[in-house]
């Protein structure tokens, strides 16, 4: 299926951009007339992925985060969040609830939240090259069926 609308965003890995990026994606998705809850789910999942790129991907260094959001005819939204950071050695382990390499203030629940709030979460990563997270969700919206 072809995307009917797409937007791209390139941001620096500064924590102040966490709120900017989730609001920007939510604002783009708004054209599907999502419910408040659907919008909240997307904001939360995007916030998790972008935070991971900032905190884990780039750690003390700074780099770029590339966000692409696409809307499809059937109301599906796909959001890609990519960084060129350190990468993930063991993706299965990283996605386990409560697993974190940071300890302290990190809950280890980012991937668990993404999986619970979105229909699909795909993670690909290469150590030393970076990480891409693809999030998908079907938006049913506030209004009756689209057809």
């Amino acid at each position: 299926m072809n995307a009917i609308n797409t937007m791209k965003l390139e941001i620096e890995s500064r924590s102040v951009n966490e709120s900017f990026s989730r609001v920007a994606v939510a604002s783009f998705v708004s054209q599907l007339d999502p419910t408040i809850e659907e919008l909240g789910d997307i904001k939360t999942a995007v916030s998790e992925a972008v935070t991971n790129s900032i905190v884990h991907g780039y750690k003390e260094s700074k780099g770029k985060i590339y966000i692409t959001a696409s809307i499809f005819e059937d109301g599906k939204v796909q959001i890609k969040i990519r960084d060129k950071g350190c990468g993930i050695e063991n993706i299965t382990q990283a996605m386990e609830p409560l697993f974190t390499t940071s300890g302290g203030e990190r809950a280890g629940l980012g991937f668990a939240v993404m999986e619970s709030f979105m229909d699909k979460v795909k993670v690909s990563s290469k150590v030393g090259k970076g990480t891409t997270v693809v999030l998908e969700k079907k938006i049913n919206g506030r209004f009756a069926k689209r057809w």
């Binding site: 939360t44 998790e48 905190v55 609830p97 809950a107 629940l109 668990a112 939240v113």
Partner: protein
Amino acid sequence: MKITFSDGILTAFVQGEIDHHSAVGIRTEIDRRIQKDKPDILRLDYSNVTFMDSSGIGLIMGRYKLMSAYSGQIEVVNVPLNMARVVRLSGIEKLGKITVKES
């Protein structure tokens, strides 16, 4: 952020959005008061939280650890309904008293 202390209970009224960025300032303020007042109970009031991701859980878990060091307890009250899902998913109910705001 409004923080009150009476009868051994330190209550922090967390405002606005909790993410990795904003959590830094929130926890610095709360931890300073914990160390000063040494409360028996830390109550985090989430009534006016408008957004949180798992950093909102990290904030609770971090304060739980600090309170445990003082043999204190933690409560999280008035979690708005649309944020209760993140809380439920985390299983932090085992650490302290958590209440969800009916609305």
